[in-house]
């Protein structure tokens, strides 16, 4: 009797554990093991074990450069997405209900378009003879046409385009839990529109902003197609280096080591973010989300 009730939670969790183990831990473990093998262009993957791949990468200035570039692109993308997405969600939230649905659909739009099509679109726009440069030239902007394609700027633009919806949607979810009367309460106490947003709305949607930022950062840091298409061959990021090792050089162990290092870098950044930024902000707000679920405001 007692034994059975103790087992019940474990049994109930078993299916999801199997999925996690099978679909996540097993492949990850495989990649990790692969990264410990050596490689020879004549003999292929060597049977021995060792950390040479990691030693080679960590002393390689090309890897350091592309890792920094990866993180830089992800940070810029996250920052711009927040600057655009948070006010966007707020504006849509304040719209008349009949407009909201249409606006949300437009916001989600970029997610509905294939990544290849979307990036080709940007290539057309950003090329030396593309629309952006044509307009800049006509306007007589000094220095135009600029070299836009195959720059970090192009990559950031492409990523922001597809990532903004993630911020909008997660902030939107937080706004839904916000009691609209709070704004009126703040107005009645003499707050201006801006103050209401800064002091009342923003703190209460912080959980959504944090979650959105984390999603955008992780996805941008591991993005492959956009950096590859808009950044070109010379502007390497870690994921495109990994691709290269696996499919062009065929040095699978080195590719696996690259993939592992990228994952460690993203995990580290995430942990630092959660520990120092999110925890601090959540200390006061954590239970706000809880209140939204539990209904202390109901």
């Amino acid at each position: 009797m007692n034994g059975r009730s103790n087992l019940t939670p474990a049994l109930l969790a078993a299916p999801s554990l199997v999925v996690y183990a099978g679909a996540l831990l097993l492949p990850l473990g495989g990649v990790l093991l692969l990264s410990l093998h050596g490689f020879d262009f004549e003999k292929g993957i060597l049977p021995g074990w060792g950390l040479e791949n990691y030693r080679d990468l960590l002393t390689d200035s090309l890897f350091a450069e592309s890792l920094l570039r990866t993180l830089r692109i992800a940070l810029w993308t996250t920052a711009i997405c927040l600057l655009v997405g948070v006010p966007e969600a707020w504006i849509i939230y304040r719209m008349a209900p009949r407009w909201r649905g249409a606006m949300l659909l437009i916001v989600v739009g970029p997610l509905l378009v294939s990544v290849v099509v979307r990036n080709f679109g940007w290539m057309v726009l950003l090329g030396t003879t593309g629309l952006v440069n044509q307009v800049l030239t006509i306007l007589g902007v000094p220095g135009a046409p600029f070299r836009l394609m195959f720059t970090e700027l192009a990559v950031v633009i492409g990523l922001v385009h597809v990532m903004v919806p993630l911020v909008v949607l997660s902030v939107w979810a937080s706004l839904g839990r916000l009691d609209p009367v709070l704004e009126r309460a703040a107005f009645s106490l003499g707050a201006s529109r801006l103050t209401v947003f800064r002091r009342v709305v923003l703190p209460n949607v912080m959980p959504g902003i944090m979650a959105g930022a984390l999603m955008v950062f992780c996805l941008s840091a591991s993005a492959f197609a956009t950096p590859a298409m808009l950044g070109g061959k010379r502007l390497k990021v870690v994921s495109s280096m990994t691709y290269n090792e696996f499919l062009n050089t065929l040095n699978w162990p080195l590719g696996a080591a690259l993939a592992t290092l990228l994952m460690v870098a993203i995990l580290t950044a995430t942990l630092i973010w959660t520990r120092f930024v999110e925890t601090r902000a959540m200390r006061r707000l954590g239970e706000v989300a809880e209140g939204g679920k539990g209904g202390s405001r109901a």
């Binding site: 009126r184 309460a185 703040a186 107005f187 009645s188 106490l189 707050a191 009342v200 209460n204 706000v288």
Partner: protein, 349 residues
């Protein structure tokens, strides 16, 4: 204050497209007065409050406060304290921070702020919970914080939007007493919006009973209760029994019982619809003079007995004080009796 009327609503109206929420509302509030806006949901009382607060603009008419036209003044500049039904405390701020918010907006110095916040929390007996977050407080405590937050800015007018309706019955009674006492002590002009007639009657100096976007009667609670302007008010404020009768010669006859009419109705002739409050009826034993009937049911309410007496004219609610005497049994034949001055004639709406 020299002005005899502190706040005046002059023929205020509000339309939402083709729908008219407020047809025409006019009233004045004296300085320090506690006025209740009372009515069923959809009567326009909340819309009226929103217009005074500045969240809705009236479609017609003028609102003046202290001689100044408020119509174009934004909500943030009106200096009106508001307590909402849901309290609307800022969930990410402690009780003290909530109360301090309005003072920060007014650029009150930090030292002064701390002092006034402490005073305001003291006023609502919550000084010991200053550092709690709203979610860590009970409904009654949150209500008090909301009150302190509205009062700390020393508002010229306090608006209460169904402030007690989320509290349980016992707490609500306690808060009623406290709110009344507090309002008296501070002397702030107050408008209470409620659908609860007993709350309005308990708290307010005057009640304005609203129906269908207009004020039906504005009077002291006991006046409105005893001399309702019409059928609607009579029904809305407490219960009343209807007594259709036939009048003639200063008397009336109903269900085989002849009784005297009050002096103001003495010259009536023919059919007349009278009403009488449950607490004005007396129950006599079978055979005594009065309207014959039978006890249908009885409820013991502690201080009172609430009887339903079935008569030829329908069911009558009777409220008798519990004086310790033996109650009438259910099913027992009884008679109903009353004093002539307890009768009111109903205006048909």
């Amino acid at each position: 204050m020299a002005a005899p009327h502190f706040l005046t609503l002059d023929r205020i109206g509000k339309d939402y497209g083709a729908f008219t929420a407020i047809r025409e509302v006019s009233f004045s509030v004296a300085p320090g007065e506690f006025l209740g806006l009372l009515g069923p949901s959809g009567c326009g009382k909340t819309t009226t409050l929103q217009m005074i607060a500045g969240f809705e603009a009236p479609s017609r008419g003028r609102i003046t406060m202290d001689g100044r036209d408020l119509t174009t003044v934004p909500a943030a500049k009106r200096g009106i304290g508001l307590v909402f039904q849901s309290y609307a405390l800022f969930p990410h701020m402690t009780a003290a921070e909530n109360v301090a918010f309005g003072l920060e907006m007014r650029r009150v110095s930090k030292a002064e702020r701390i002092k006034r916040v402490a005073e305001a929390l003291d006023l609502v007996h919550l000084a010991h919970l200053a550092d709690r977050f709203p979610r860590q407080m009970s409904g009654g405590q949150q209500q008090r914080v909301a009150l302190a937050r509205a009062l700390v800015i020393e508002p010229r007018l306090l608006l209460l939007d169904e402030p007690l309706s989320n509290l349980d019955a016992k707490l609500r009674e306690e808060m009623q007493v406290e709110l009344r006492e507090l309002q008296r002590r501070i002397g702030v002009t107050t408008i209470l919006v409620t659908h609860d007639q007993s709350e309005a009657m308990a708290l307010c100096d005057r009640v304005a009973i609203m129906q269908g976007g207009r004020i039906v009667q504005i009077d002291a609670p006991w006046r409105a209760y005893d001399v309702p302007a019409d059928d609607f008010v009579a029904d809305f404020l407490g219960r009343s029994n209807r007594l259709p009768a036939c009048a003639g010669g200063g008397q009336a006859e109903a269900g085989g019982h002849r009784f005297a009419l009050p002096p103001d109705l003495a010259d009536r002739q023919g059919d007349i619809l009278l009403t009488i409050r449950p607490e004005r009826l007396r129950i006599g034993n079978d055979g005594a003079a009065g309207l014959g009937g039978r006890v249908q049911s009885r409820l013991f309410l502690g201080g009172f007995w609430l009887y339903a007496v079935e008569t030829a004219l329908g069911s009558f609610a009777v409220m008798l004080q519990n004086t310790g005497s033996v109650p009438h049994d259910e099913g027992a034949p009884v008679t109903l009796d009353w004093d002539a001055h307890s009768l009111r004639r109903l205006e048909r709406a």
